[in-house]
Protein backbone atom coordinates (compact mmCIF):
# COMPACT_ATOMS: atom_id res chain seq x y z
CA UNK A 1 0.00 0.00 0.00
CA UNK A 2 2.76 2.39 0.88
CA UNK A 3 4.46 2.21 -2.53
CA UNK A 4 1.26 2.52 -4.54
CA UNK A 5 0.48 5.77 -6.31
CA UNK A 6 -3.10 5.14 -7.26
CA UNK A 7 -5.39 2.74 -5.46
CA UNK A 8 -8.99 1.99 -4.63
CA UNK A 9 -10.49 0.58 -1.49
CA UNK A 10 -13.96 -0.89 -1.18
CA UNK A 11 -15.14 0.84 -4.33
CA UNK A 12 -18.78 0.34 -5.28
CA UNK A 13 -20.63 1.71 -8.27
CA UNK A 14 -24.38 2.16 -8.56
CA UNK A 15 -25.92 2.80 -11.99
CA UNK A 16 -29.62 3.51 -11.80
CA UNK A 17 -30.95 0.88 -9.43
CA UNK A 18 -28.26 -1.67 -10.20
CA UNK A 19 -25.13 -2.26 -8.19
CA UNK A 20 -22.53 -2.75 -10.94
CA UNK A 21 -19.67 -3.78 -8.69
CA UNK A 22 -18.86 -3.62 -5.00
CA UNK A 23 -15.84 -4.07 -2.78
CA UNK A 24 -13.45 -3.41 -5.66
CA UNK A 25 -9.77 -3.04 -4.77
CA UNK A 26 -6.67 -2.34 -6.79
CA UNK A 27 -3.29 -0.68 -6.32
CA UNK A 28 -0.98 0.72 -8.97
CA UNK A 29 2.59 1.97 -8.62
CA UNK A 30 4.50 4.22 -10.96
CA UNK A 31 5.13 2.52 -14.30
CA UNK A 32 2.51 -0.15 -13.77
CA UNK A 33 -0.50 -0.96 -15.89
CA UNK A 34 -3.90 -2.38 -15.06
CA UNK A 35 -5.96 -4.26 -17.62
CA UNK A 36 -9.69 -4.37 -16.97
CA UNK A 37 -11.42 -7.47 -18.25
CA UNK A 38 -14.92 -8.76 -17.81
CA UNK A 39 -18.13 -9.36 -19.75
CA UNK A 40 -20.27 -6.53 -21.10
CA UNK A 41 -21.98 -4.67 -18.30
CA UNK A 42 -19.50 -5.73 -15.65
CA UNK A 43 -18.54 -2.09 -15.15
CA UNK A 44 -15.29 -1.56 -17.05
CA UNK A 45 -16.41 1.75 -18.49
CA UNK A 46 -18.03 2.75 -15.21
CA UNK A 47 -14.80 2.07 -13.34
CA UNK A 48 -12.81 4.18 -15.80
CA UNK A 49 -15.35 6.98 -15.50
CA UNK A 50 -15.14 6.71 -11.71
CA UNK A 51 -11.36 7.04 -11.97
CA UNK A 52 -11.81 10.11 -14.18
CA UNK A 53 -14.23 11.60 -11.62
CA UNK A 54 -16.96 11.64 -14.24
CA UNK A 55 -18.96 9.40 -11.90
CA UNK A 56 -19.12 9.47 -8.16
CA UNK A 57 -18.49 6.24 -6.27
CA UNK A 58 -21.47 4.85 -4.38
CA UNK A 59 -19.10 3.62 -1.68
CA UNK A 60 -15.39 3.55 -1.14
CA UNK A 61 -12.57 5.81 -2.15
CA UNK A 62 -9.99 6.31 -4.84
CA UNK A 63 -6.63 7.14 -3.33
CA UNK A 64 -3.72 9.03 -4.85
CA UNK A 65 -0.59 8.55 -2.75
CA UNK A 66 -2.83 7.59 0.12
CA UNK A 67 -5.02 10.69 -0.08
CA UNK A 68 -8.66 10.43 -1.28
CA UNK A 69 -8.87 12.05 -4.73
CA UNK A 70 -12.24 13.57 -3.81
CA UNK A 71 -10.41 15.98 -1.52
CA UNK A 72 -8.81 17.77 -4.45
CA UNK A 73 -10.67 16.82 -7.63
CA UNK A 74 -9.05 19.55 -9.74
CA UNK A 75 -5.58 18.22 -9.01
CA UNK A 76 -6.73 14.72 -9.93
CA UNK A 77 -8.25 15.90 -13.21
CA UNK A 78 -4.97 17.60 -14.05
CA UNK A 79 -3.02 14.36 -13.71
CA UNK A 80 -5.24 12.12 -15.81
CA UNK A 81 -5.98 11.69 -19.50
CA UNK A 82 -9.20 9.94 -20.38
CA UNK A 83 -10.02 8.34 -23.72
CA UNK A 84 -13.62 7.14 -23.76
CA UNK A 85 -15.94 5.62 -26.33
CA UNK A 86 -16.77 8.98 -27.87
CA UNK A 87 -14.01 10.59 -29.84
CA UNK A 88 -15.06 14.24 -29.43
CA UNK A 89 -14.18 15.10 -33.00
CA UNK A 90 -15.86 17.97 -34.79
CA UNK A 91 -16.72 17.41 -38.45
CA UNK A 92 -15.57 20.89 -39.46
CA UNK A 93 -12.27 21.10 -37.58
CA UNK A 94 -9.09 19.64 -39.06
CA UNK A 95 -7.03 17.14 -37.08
CA UNK A 96 -4.41 19.76 -36.31
CA UNK A 97 -7.03 22.30 -35.18
CA UNK A 98 -8.69 19.77 -32.88
CA UNK A 99 -5.45 18.77 -31.22
CA UNK A 100 -4.19 22.34 -30.97
CA UNK A 101 -7.41 23.25 -29.21
CA UNK A 102 -7.17 20.41 -26.69
CA UNK A 103 -3.54 21.27 -25.98
CA UNK A 104 -4.42 24.93 -25.50
CA UNK A 105 -7.36 24.06 -23.23
CA UNK A 106 -4.97 22.18 -20.96
CA UNK A 107 -2.76 25.25 -20.87
CA UNK A 108 0.13 23.82 -22.87
CA UNK A 109 2.70 26.33 -24.06
CA UNK A 110 3.10 26.28 -27.85
CA UNK A 111 0.01 24.09 -28.53
CA UNK A 112 0.52 24.04 -32.31
CA UNK A 113 3.92 22.40 -32.13
CA UNK A 114 2.72 19.85 -29.57
CA UNK A 115 -0.21 18.98 -31.83
CA UNK A 116 2.15 18.36 -34.76
CA UNK A 117 4.39 16.14 -32.65
CA UNK A 118 1.42 14.11 -31.37
CA UNK A 119 0.03 13.69 -34.90
CA UNK A 120 3.39 12.41 -36.07
CA UNK A 121 3.71 9.88 -33.27
CA UNK A 122 0.40 8.27 -34.13
CA UNK A 123 1.08 8.38 -37.87
CA UNK A 124 -1.53 11.03 -38.62
CA UNK A 125 0.75 13.71 -40.11
CA UNK A 126 -0.68 13.18 -43.59
CA UNK A 127 -4.18 13.79 -42.26
CA UNK A 128 -3.34 16.90 -40.28
CA UNK A 129 -5.27 19.28 -42.57
CA UNK A 130 -8.21 16.91 -43.14
CA UNK A 131 -11.52 17.91 -41.49
CA UNK A 132 -12.98 15.46 -39.01
CA UNK A 133 -15.93 14.52 -41.18
CA UNK A 134 -13.66 12.72 -43.68
CA UNK A 135 -11.96 10.54 -41.06
CA UNK A 136 -12.71 6.84 -40.75
CA UNK A 137 -13.63 5.37 -37.37
CA UNK A 138 -10.07 4.12 -36.85
CA UNK A 139 -8.57 7.49 -37.79
CA UNK A 140 -10.91 9.26 -35.38
CA UNK A 141 -9.83 6.90 -32.64
CA UNK A 142 -6.16 7.58 -33.42
CA UNK A 143 -6.80 11.33 -33.32
CA UNK A 144 -8.48 10.90 -29.94
CA UNK A 145 -5.54 8.83 -28.69
CA UNK A 146 -3.15 11.52 -29.93
CA UNK A 147 -4.53 13.75 -27.14
CA UNK A 148 -2.65 11.53 -24.70
CA UNK A 149 0.66 12.67 -26.13
CA UNK A 150 0.01 16.41 -25.98
CA UNK A 151 0.99 17.01 -22.38
CA UNK A 152 2.58 14.59 -19.96
CA UNK A 153 0.17 13.29 -17.30
CA UNK A 154 0.86 10.40 -14.95
CA UNK A 155 -2.42 8.52 -15.33
CA UNK A 156 -3.90 7.35 -18.63
CA UNK A 157 -7.43 5.94 -18.57
CA UNK A 158 -8.28 4.15 -21.79
CA UNK A 159 -11.69 2.69 -22.54
CA UNK A 160 -11.23 0.08 -25.27
CA UNK A 161 -8.51 2.08 -26.98
CA UNK A 162 -7.93 -0.49 -29.72
CA UNK A 163 -11.49 -0.37 -31.09
CA UNK A 164 -11.27 0.28 -34.80
CA UNK A 165 -7.47 0.35 -34.88
CA UNK A 166 -5.51 -1.65 -37.44
CA UNK A 167 -2.41 -3.64 -36.49
CA UNK A 168 0.00 -0.82 -37.34
CA UNK A 169 -1.91 1.72 -35.27
CA UNK A 170 -2.18 -0.72 -32.37
CA UNK A 171 1.60 -1.06 -32.57
CA UNK A 172 2.04 2.70 -32.38
CA UNK A 173 -0.33 2.82 -29.41
CA UNK A 174 1.60 0.05 -27.66
CA UNK A 175 4.83 1.94 -28.25
CA UNK A 176 3.28 5.08 -26.80
CA UNK A 177 2.03 3.12 -23.77
CA UNK A 178 5.46 1.57 -23.24
CA UNK A 179 7.11 5.01 -23.46
CA UNK A 180 4.59 6.44 -21.00
CA UNK A 181 5.22 3.62 -18.50
CA UNK A 182 8.98 3.84 -18.91
CA UNK A 183 8.67 7.47 -17.79
CA UNK A 184 6.87 6.39 -14.62
CA UNK A 185 3.34 6.81 -15.96
CA UNK A 186 0.43 4.52 -15.17
CA UNK A 187 -2.11 3.03 -17.55
CA UNK A 188 -5.55 1.65 -16.84
CA UNK A 189 -7.15 0.14 -19.93
CA UNK A 190 -10.15 -1.97 -20.76
CA UNK A 191 -10.02 -4.03 -23.90
CA UNK A 192 -11.62 -6.92 -25.75
CA UNK A 193 -8.83 -7.24 -28.30
CA UNK A 194 -5.22 -8.21 -27.62
CA UNK A 195 -3.19 -5.25 -26.42
CA UNK A 196 0.42 -5.75 -25.41
CA UNK A 197 0.88 -4.32 -21.92
CA UNK A 198 3.92 -6.24 -20.63
CA UNK A 199 3.65 -7.02 -16.94
CA UNK A 200 0.19 -5.52 -16.59
CA UNK A 201 -1.95 -6.64 -13.68
CA UNK A 202 -5.38 -7.90 -14.68
CA UNK A 203 -8.54 -6.95 -12.85
CA UNK A 204 -11.49 -9.26 -13.47
CA UNK A 205 -14.51 -7.09 -12.89
CA UNK A 206 -16.92 -10.01 -12.71
CA UNK A 207 -15.19 -11.02 -9.47
CA UNK A 208 -16.76 -7.95 -7.91
CA UNK A 209 -20.23 -8.28 -9.38
CA UNK A 210 -22.57 -8.60 -6.41
CA UNK A 211 -24.51 -11.85 -6.21
CA UNK A 212 -28.13 -10.89 -6.50
CA UNK A 213 -31.21 -13.08 -7.05
CA UNK A 214 -30.33 -13.38 -10.70
CA UNK A 215 -27.00 -12.72 -12.31
CA UNK A 216 -27.50 -10.31 -15.16
CA UNK A 217 -25.11 -9.81 -18.02
CA UNK A 218 -25.44 -8.42 -21.48
CA UNK A 219 -26.24 -4.80 -20.82
CA UNK A 220 -23.63 -2.39 -22.02
CA UNK A 221 -22.23 -0.29 -19.21
Amino acid sequence: MSASQFAASGLACLRGERLVFAGLEFALSAGEALLLVGPNGSGKSSLLRLMALLLRPFRGDLLWQGEPVSEDPDAHRARLRYVGHLDGIKPVLTCRESLTFWAALDGAPDPGRRASAALERLGLERLSEVPGRYLSAGQKRRLNLARLLLLPAPLWLLDEPTNGLDAAATGRLEAALAGHRAGGGMVVASTHTPLALPGAATLHLDDFTPELHDHEHGESA
Binding site: L54, L55, V92, F101, G107
Partner: protein
Protein backbone atom coordinates in the same frame (compact mmCIF):
# COMPACT_ATOMS: atom_id res chain seq x y z
CA UNK B 1 -7.65 33.35 -19.22
CA UNK B 2 -6.04 32.41 -22.53
CA UNK B 3 -7.72 29.00 -22.20
CA UNK B 4 -11.05 30.76 -21.95
CA UNK B 5 -10.44 32.64 -25.20
CA UNK B 6 -9.20 29.49 -26.92
CA UNK B 7 -12.56 27.92 -26.18
CA UNK B 8 -14.43 31.02 -27.39
CA UNK B 9 -12.49 31.11 -30.66
CA UNK B 10 -12.98 27.39 -31.18
CA UNK B 11 -16.75 27.74 -30.75
CA UNK B 12 -16.82 30.77 -33.05
CA UNK B 13 -14.85 28.85 -35.67
CA UNK B 14 -17.25 25.91 -35.39
CA UNK B 15 -20.27 28.18 -35.69
CA UNK B 16 -18.88 30.10 -38.66
CA UNK B 17 -17.93 26.94 -40.55
CA UNK B 18 -21.25 25.28 -39.90
CA UNK B 19 -23.07 28.52 -40.54
CA UNK B 20 -26.60 27.30 -39.98
CA UNK B 21 -27.08 28.15 -36.30
CA UNK B 22 -26.15 31.78 -36.68
CA UNK B 23 -28.29 32.46 -39.72
CA UNK B 24 -31.29 30.49 -38.46
CA UNK B 25 -31.64 32.63 -35.34
CA UNK B 26 -31.52 35.95 -37.17
CA UNK B 27 -33.72 34.72 -40.05
CA UNK B 28 -36.28 33.50 -37.53
CA UNK B 29 -36.14 36.88 -35.78
CA UNK B 30 -36.75 38.79 -39.04
CA UNK B 31 -39.52 36.49 -40.27
CA UNK B 32 -41.27 36.51 -36.92
CA UNK B 33 -41.43 40.30 -36.88
CA UNK B 34 -42.37 40.54 -40.55
CA UNK B 35 -45.41 38.33 -39.89
CA UNK B 36 -47.01 40.90 -37.58
CA UNK B 37 -48.02 43.47 -40.20
CA UNK B 38 -49.75 40.64 -42.06
CA UNK B 39 -51.57 39.57 -38.93
CA UNK B 40 -52.63 42.87 -37.38
CA UNK B 41 -52.98 44.83 -40.60
CA UNK B 42 -50.80 47.54 -42.10
CA UNK B 43 -52.02 50.50 -40.03
CA UNK B 44 -48.92 52.50 -39.11
CA UNK B 45 -50.27 53.65 -35.75
CA UNK B 46 -51.01 50.19 -34.47
CA UNK B 47 -47.69 48.85 -35.69
CA UNK B 48 -45.78 51.74 -34.13
CA UNK B 49 -47.55 51.10 -30.83
CA UNK B 50 -46.69 47.40 -30.69
CA UNK B 51 -43.22 47.61 -32.33
CA UNK B 52 -41.16 47.49 -29.13
CA UNK B 53 -43.02 44.51 -27.72
CA UNK B 54 -43.05 42.60 -30.99
CA UNK B 55 -39.32 43.03 -31.58
CA UNK B 56 -38.53 42.00 -28.01
CA UNK B 57 -40.76 38.93 -28.06
CA UNK B 58 -39.26 37.90 -31.40
CA UNK B 59 -35.72 38.40 -30.08
CA UNK B 60 -36.57 36.28 -27.06
CA UNK B 61 -37.95 33.45 -29.18
CA UNK B 62 -34.99 33.65 -31.56
CA UNK B 63 -32.59 33.36 -28.65
CA UNK B 64 -34.53 30.37 -27.32
CA UNK B 65 -34.50 28.65 -30.71
CA UNK B 66 -30.73 28.35 -30.88
CA UNK B 67 -30.15 27.58 -27.20
CA UNK B 68 -31.01 23.91 -27.46
CA UNK B 69 -27.78 23.30 -29.34
CA UNK B 70 -25.59 25.25 -26.91
CA UNK B 71 -24.24 22.10 -25.22
CA UNK B 72 -25.96 19.38 -27.21
CA UNK B 73 -23.41 18.71 -29.97
CA UNK B 74 -20.50 18.76 -27.54
CA UNK B 75 -22.41 16.41 -25.27
CA UNK B 76 -23.22 13.96 -28.06
CA UNK B 77 -19.69 13.67 -29.42
CA UNK B 78 -17.99 13.49 -26.02
CA UNK B 79 -16.25 16.88 -26.21
CA UNK B 80 -18.12 18.15 -23.18
CA UNK B 81 -16.73 15.30 -21.09
CA UNK B 82 -13.21 16.20 -22.15
CA UNK B 83 -13.83 19.86 -21.38
CA UNK B 84 -15.05 18.89 -17.92
CA UNK B 85 -11.75 17.07 -17.43
CA UNK B 86 -9.64 19.91 -18.77
CA UNK B 87 -7.90 22.45 -16.59
CA UNK B 88 -10.62 25.02 -17.23
CA UNK B 89 -13.34 25.05 -14.53
CA UNK B 90 -16.71 23.96 -15.90
CA UNK B 91 -18.21 27.32 -14.93
CA UNK B 92 -15.78 29.06 -17.26
CA UNK B 93 -16.43 26.47 -19.97
CA UNK B 94 -20.11 27.41 -19.73
CA UNK B 95 -19.31 31.12 -19.79
CA UNK B 96 -17.01 30.77 -22.81
CA UNK B 97 -19.58 28.78 -24.73
CA UNK B 98 -22.28 31.33 -23.83
CA UNK B 99 -20.09 34.23 -24.97
CA UNK B 100 -19.46 32.51 -28.30
CA UNK B 101 -23.14 31.65 -28.60
CA UNK B 102 -24.16 35.25 -28.00
CA UNK B 103 -21.64 36.60 -30.50
CA UNK B 104 -23.01 34.23 -33.11
CA UNK B 105 -26.75 34.45 -32.41
CA UNK B 106 -27.31 37.56 -30.25
CA UNK B 107 -25.17 40.12 -32.02
CA UNK B 108 -26.86 39.65 -35.45
CA UNK B 109 -30.18 40.44 -33.75
CA UNK B 110 -28.81 43.85 -32.79
CA UNK B 111 -27.87 44.48 -36.41
CA UNK B 112 -31.27 43.40 -37.73
CA UNK B 113 -33.36 45.16 -35.07
CA UNK B 114 -33.16 48.75 -36.44
CA UNK B 115 -34.31 47.57 -39.87
CA UNK B 116 -37.29 45.83 -38.28
CA UNK B 117 -38.03 48.92 -36.22
CA UNK B 118 -38.24 50.94 -39.45
CA UNK B 119 -40.47 48.26 -40.95
CA UNK B 120 -42.86 48.53 -38.00
CA UNK B 121 -42.83 52.34 -38.15
CA UNK B 122 -41.37 52.64 -34.67
CA UNK B 123 -40.84 56.17 -33.40
CA UNK B 124 -37.29 57.38 -34.05
CA UNK B 125 -36.95 58.31 -30.40
CA UNK B 126 -36.97 54.67 -29.44
CA UNK B 127 -34.10 53.49 -31.64
CA UNK B 128 -31.31 54.22 -29.19
CA UNK B 129 -33.20 52.52 -26.38
CA UNK B 130 -33.97 49.55 -28.64
CA UNK B 131 -30.30 48.93 -29.33
CA UNK B 132 -29.26 49.50 -25.73
CA UNK B 133 -31.91 47.17 -24.33
CA UNK B 134 -31.02 44.45 -26.81
CA UNK B 135 -27.32 44.90 -26.07
CA UNK B 136 -27.99 44.45 -22.34
CA UNK B 137 -30.87 42.00 -22.59
CA UNK B 138 -29.80 39.40 -25.13
CA UNK B 139 -26.62 38.39 -23.22
CA UNK B 140 -28.80 37.95 -20.13
CA UNK B 141 -31.16 35.78 -22.22
CA UNK B 142 -28.24 33.62 -23.40
CA UNK B 143 -26.94 33.22 -19.86
CA UNK B 144 -30.31 32.33 -18.34
CA UNK B 145 -31.17 30.11 -21.28
CA UNK B 146 -27.91 28.23 -20.80
CA UNK B 147 -29.28 26.89 -17.52
CA UNK B 148 -32.25 25.44 -19.36
CA UNK B 149 -30.01 24.01 -22.07
CA UNK B 150 -27.82 22.34 -19.44
CA UNK B 151 -30.81 20.99 -17.48
CA UNK B 152 -32.47 19.44 -20.52
CA UNK B 153 -29.26 17.92 -21.88
CA UNK B 154 -29.89 14.34 -22.88
CA UNK B 155 -33.65 14.67 -22.45
CA UNK B 156 -35.86 13.70 -25.33
CA UNK B 157 -37.69 16.67 -26.87
CA UNK B 158 -35.35 18.93 -24.94
CA UNK B 159 -36.29 21.96 -27.04
CA UNK B 160 -39.88 22.01 -25.82
CA UNK B 161 -38.74 21.45 -22.26
CA UNK B 162 -36.29 24.38 -22.44
CA UNK B 163 -39.12 26.68 -23.51
CA UNK B 164 -41.27 25.62 -20.57
CA UNK B 165 -38.42 26.03 -18.11
CA UNK B 166 -36.89 29.22 -19.41
CA UNK B 167 -39.67 31.38 -20.87
CA UNK B 168 -41.03 32.32 -17.41
CA UNK B 169 -37.52 33.40 -16.42
CA UNK B 170 -37.31 35.62 -19.49
CA UNK B 171 -40.31 37.70 -18.41
CA UNK B 172 -38.37 40.33 -16.39
CA UNK B 173 -35.98 40.93 -19.27
CA UNK B 174 -38.94 41.31 -21.62
CA UNK B 175 -40.81 43.72 -19.33
CA UNK B 176 -37.89 46.06 -18.81
CA UNK B 177 -36.61 45.75 -22.36
CA UNK B 178 -39.88 46.73 -23.94
CA UNK B 179 -40.55 49.19 -21.11
CA UNK B 180 -37.35 51.15 -21.76
CA UNK B 181 -38.24 51.59 -25.42
CA UNK B 182 -41.80 52.71 -24.61
CA UNK B 183 -40.45 55.17 -22.06
CA UNK B 184 -38.01 56.62 -24.58
CA UNK B 185 -40.77 56.99 -27.19
CA UNK B 186 -43.15 58.74 -24.81
CA UNK B 187 -40.40 61.15 -23.79
CA UNK B 188 -39.63 59.68 -20.38
CA UNK B 189 -36.18 58.60 -19.32
CA UNK B 190 -35.44 54.94 -20.17
CA UNK B 191 -32.66 55.03 -17.61
CA UNK B 192 -34.43 53.17 -14.73
CA UNK B 193 -35.41 50.34 -17.07
CA UNK B 194 -31.92 50.16 -18.51
CA UNK B 195 -30.40 50.05 -15.05
CA UNK B 196 -32.62 47.15 -14.06
CA UNK B 197 -31.69 45.34 -17.29
CA UNK B 198 -28.03 45.96 -16.52
CA UNK B 199 -28.60 44.60 -13.01
CA UNK B 200 -30.23 41.47 -14.45
CA UNK B 201 -27.19 40.98 -16.68
CA UNK B 202 -24.80 41.67 -13.82
CA UNK B 203 -26.62 39.09 -11.71
CA UNK B 204 -26.83 36.46 -14.44
CA UNK B 205 -23.17 36.81 -15.41
CA UNK B 206 -21.74 35.18 -12.29
CA UNK B 207 -24.77 33.11 -11.21
CA UNK B 208 -26.02 31.48 -14.41
CA UNK B 209 -22.71 29.72 -15.25
CA UNK B 210 -22.62 28.24 -11.75
CA UNK B 211 -26.15 26.86 -12.15
CA UNK B 212 -25.45 25.61 -15.68
CA UNK B 213 -22.21 23.92 -14.60
CA UNK B 214 -24.03 22.14 -11.78
CA UNK B 215 -26.63 20.91 -14.25
CA UNK B 216 -23.92 19.79 -16.68
CA UNK B 217 -22.17 17.76 -13.99
CA UNK B 218 -25.46 15.99 -13.42
CA UNK B 219 -25.87 15.36 -17.14
CA UNK B 220 -22.36 13.92 -17.46
CA UNK B 221 -22.93 11.22 -14.83
Amino acid sequence: MTRFWHLVTRDLRLALRQGSDATIAVMFFVLCVVLFPFGVGPEPNILARIAAGVIWVAALLASLLSLERLFQTDHEDGSLELMALSGLPLELVVLAKTVAHWLVTGLPLLVAAPLLAVLLNMDRGGFGALLLTLALGTPALSLIGGIGAALTLGARRGGVLISLLILPLYIPVLIFGAGAIDAAITGLSPRPHLLILAALLAGALPLAPVASAAALRQALE
